[in-house]
């Protein structure tokens, strides 16, 4: 079980997350939605500790890490990061490495895999994301959609227990969105544990097993899309409708 307990995060005076507790069901897709500035990206970044929470606890399948006044050991940080894979809004591929090198960097440097083994696995992942023929291309030679697919393959290469997507299609043109969304959908159907922050409501509806609505740093409601669309809370209904 993946669990976030009583998480708080502030940037200076600004309280971004207020007492967030969330169960992330294994083998299910959790979608986090909410207005801009609601704290959804910060919540996602707290799961793999790109942001260090001020207080609370993250428990990833028995690896519990607690935060006390934002203090946490380097060992704990690495422990959680090895269990999670992250896909960023801006792809963040390594520009000086080819597509294949981007994918095998983590397995070789962090997991200490042998190079030929990492390459074999990297090629398998490239095939999975449909970019086998781009293995020697550098990021700037690829379209945004292709870059994001490579970034997904890079995250998968670490064999994470949980995959985190931070607005994975927000930087893409509409026609390129589809190829990335269908890949994420495919991963969702493989029953991986996935957490996605997105503005794509139709996509949230399609893949989300549990949809979490956040506003002003607090979880307002969660459940299936149907449940949320019939919520007694007018704010949520309004938010969902505004995208239809």
């Amino acid at each position: 079980m993946f669990e976030i307990k009583n998480l708080y995060k502030s940037f200076g005076e600004n309280e971004i997350l207020k007492n967030i507790s969330l169960m992330i069901k294994p083998n299910h897709t959790t979608v986090i939605i909410g207005p801009s500035g609601s704290g959804k990206t910060t919540l996602l970044r707290c799961i793999n500790l790109l942001e260090i929470p001020n207080a609370g606890e993250v428990d990833l399948n028995g690896e519990r890490v607690g935060f006390n006044e934002g203090k946490v050991s380097k060992k704990d940080i690495l422990k959680l990061r090895k269990k999670t894979g992250m896909v960023f809004q801006g792809f963040n591929l390594f520009p000086h490495k080819t597509a294949l090198e981007n994918i095998i960097e983590g397995p070789i440097t962090v997991l200490k895999q042998a190079k030929d083994e990492a390459i074999k696995e990297g090629m398998r992942l490239l095939k999975k994301v449909g970019l086998e023929d781009k293995k020697d291309s550098y990021p700037h030679e690829l379209s945004g959609g292709q870059q994001q697919r490579i970034a997904i393959a890079r995250a998968l290469g670490m064999k994470p227990e949980i995959l985190l997507f931070d607005e994975p299609t927000s930087a893409l043109d509409p026609e390129l969105e589809i190829e990335v969304l269908s890949l994420i959908k495919e991963l969702s159907e493989e029953n991986r544990t996935i957490v996605i922050v997105t503005h794509q409501m139709s996509f949230a509806k399609e893949v989300g097993d549990n949809i979490v609505f956040i506003d002003k740093g607090e979880i307002i409601e969660q459940g299936t899309y149907e449940k949320l669309s019939e919520s007694p809370n007018a704010r949520i209904r309004q938010f969902l409708n505004s995208f239809n």
Binding site: L50, M86, P139
Partner: protein, 224 residues
């Protein structure tokens, strides 16, 4: 001025005499000082972007002193000044120390700026793979920062070639000192100083060409 045979003979005869100390002193002095200076610069830059408070203060002080005083003054302090404090150094060693410290201070800022110029998303991508600070630095940041720092580092490198002429002031018989001696003997300062200037220019031209090659090599996979 009519170019007469004696002048052409002077140019030809003095050429090797001037070039020889260039090969024996100027080039090794430049290469050794730049290598040591670069090592200092990398260490100082890494300290400057770290959270090591005491070391940060010490390195800031070092950069402040070196950048704020003339290189010639530094050379004189090391060679003529330090013996009063009981430290006597060979002219060549004193030169290497002065030039290395100088390159170290200036280039540390170049390297620091290059590291800071790499987008924070690159750090996050590396860290999210579970890499440690040093792994991200070595595998992701430094290779990209190297490319950014090549042009300003070559500025320092080329500057150093010419600065080595200051070693003439502390009895190092490098190119410029040798030229001075010939000029004093032949009364042809215009010809001889132009000649030595030309040799410096050739050395620097070679470095400029190396810079171009390095930039092309490092631009692989990246937008120019």
């Amino acid at each position: 001025m009519q170019i007469s045979d004696p002048i052409i003979n002077l140019i030809i005869n003095s050429f090797w005499t001037i070039l020889k100390p260039g090969l024996i002193y100027t080039i090794p002095l430049t290469l050794i000082s730049f290598a040591i200076g670069l090592a200092i610069a990398i260490a100082v830059a890494l300290i400057q972007i770290s959270h090591l408070k005491v070391l940060k203060r010490i390195t800031s002080f070092y950069v402040w002193i070196i950048r704020g005083t003339p290189l010639l003054v530094q050379i004189f302090i090391i060679f003529y000044g330090l013996p009063s404090a009981g430290i006597t150094l060979e002219p060549l060693l004193a030169s290497v120390i002065a030039f290395s410290l100088n390159v170290g201070a200036y280039s540390s800022e170049t390297i620091r700026a290059a590291i800071l110029s790499i987008h924070k998303g690159q750090w996050e991508a590396g860290e999210s793979l579970g890499m440690t600070y040093f792994q991200v630095m070595r595998r992701i940041i430094i290779p990209q920062a190297t490319k950014v720092s090549i042009p300003p580092l070559f500025n320092s490198f080329i500057g150093l070639v010419k600065d080595t002429s200051l070693a003439a002031n502390i009895t190092v018989a490098e190119m410029f000192m040798v030229t001075q001696r010939i000029a004093a003997r032949t009364y042809e300062p215009l010809i001889l100083y132009c000649e030595v200037g030309f040799i410096y220019l050739m050395f620097c031209t070679v470095l400029s060409e190396i810079q171009k090659k390095a930039e092309i090599k490092l631009s692989i996979g990246q937008k120019i």
